[in-house]
Subunit: 183 residues, 2 copies
């Protein structure tokens, strides 16, 4: 019992103290999140960015803020305040002993989505692109931009769970995959 | 001061309670680690596995056990007991709205390395391959196997830091990249 209480206490304390919440500027721009590389990894794609074409070699790494992820594991739903981030990294070949295939190098951009149904009334989610080392970014827009495609094609709420194998597995178990995505 | 003390207390408690240490069977086989997907992500490659050839499409995702990672961030060195794990996942194309590029699906294998200079006296590191859903694995061997190539070609101790951009950055800052790897 003592250990269980201690675990619970630590877990709550850790969640409260180390959660990274979205931080906005006075004009509503989102501040670039700082802890992404220690968030929970969802998956990577290669060459999936717009305009990459068949020869595209950029990697995209997707991460979830840990407190949002833990809630998703329990419920299959993303809680209010969820932040997901996608790194875009250069893919290179023929470095060191590598001959075939691709490995990751420079960070080119960081793209972030936030779920906040009060702040983003139309779609509930908003998207922000931090190119290079940019530290603040405007929302790309409600009822258009990223939301248009995410609304239509994402498998789990507004997120492309169909490309994140462990998220898809959880959402299937919880019954939160959109019917349109399972056809 | 109170907050700082609380943070320190929580940090130590979290480290002690949630660290995942290597667990061995009586015959020395390593048990498959269970928390890999919540470890710290290092990087992914595509088509870098042996024998993939130029058309290889398997992804490899590399993770570090969090307490080992935190020590690496401080020192640029992997502490005793470090576990790194590499997922091998199938890469697919033309699923959902995806036309070009590749995304990840099924887990094909999990490969783990452990640093333990007392247990693995010759090389200090040992490698274990958990194909499919295998739960225990024998060490692949000292003075040969994985160690032969890692000893010769890895940039940061026995790890291929040259393919993990954030690890390479830390190791460069701490001066722990092997000279042979920077030539």
């Amino acid at each position: 019992m003592k250990l269980a209480a201690l675990l619970l206490f630590t877990s709550v304390l850790t969640t409260v103290l180390f959660a990274e919440q979205p931080r906005y500027m006075g004009d509503g721009q989102l501040q670039r999140p700082t802890g992404v590389r220690e968030w929970i990894y969802l998956s990577s794609g290669m060459g999936m960015q717009y305009g990459n074409g068949a020869a595209g070699s950029e990697f995209t790494n997707v991460f979830a803020e840990p407190t949002a992820y833990r809630e998703f594991v329990k419920t299959g739903k993303w809680p209010e305040g969820t932040m997901l981030a996608m790194e875009v990294r250069r893919g290179e070949s023929k470095g060191s002993i590598n001959k075939d295939g691709r490995f990751q190098t420079d960070l080119l951009a960081l793209e972030v989505t936030v779920k906040d149904t009060k702040r983003f009334k139309a779609d509930g989610w908003e998207y922000f692109a931090f190119g290079g080392k940019v530290q603040t970014a405007k929302g790309i827009g409600q009822q258009g931009g990223c939301n248009a495609c995410h609304n239509k094609n994402a498998a789990v709420e507004n997120t492309f769970g169909q490309f994140y194998p462990t998220i898809l597995e959880i959402a299937r178990a919880k019954g939160t995959v959109k019917k349109t995505a399972e056809e």
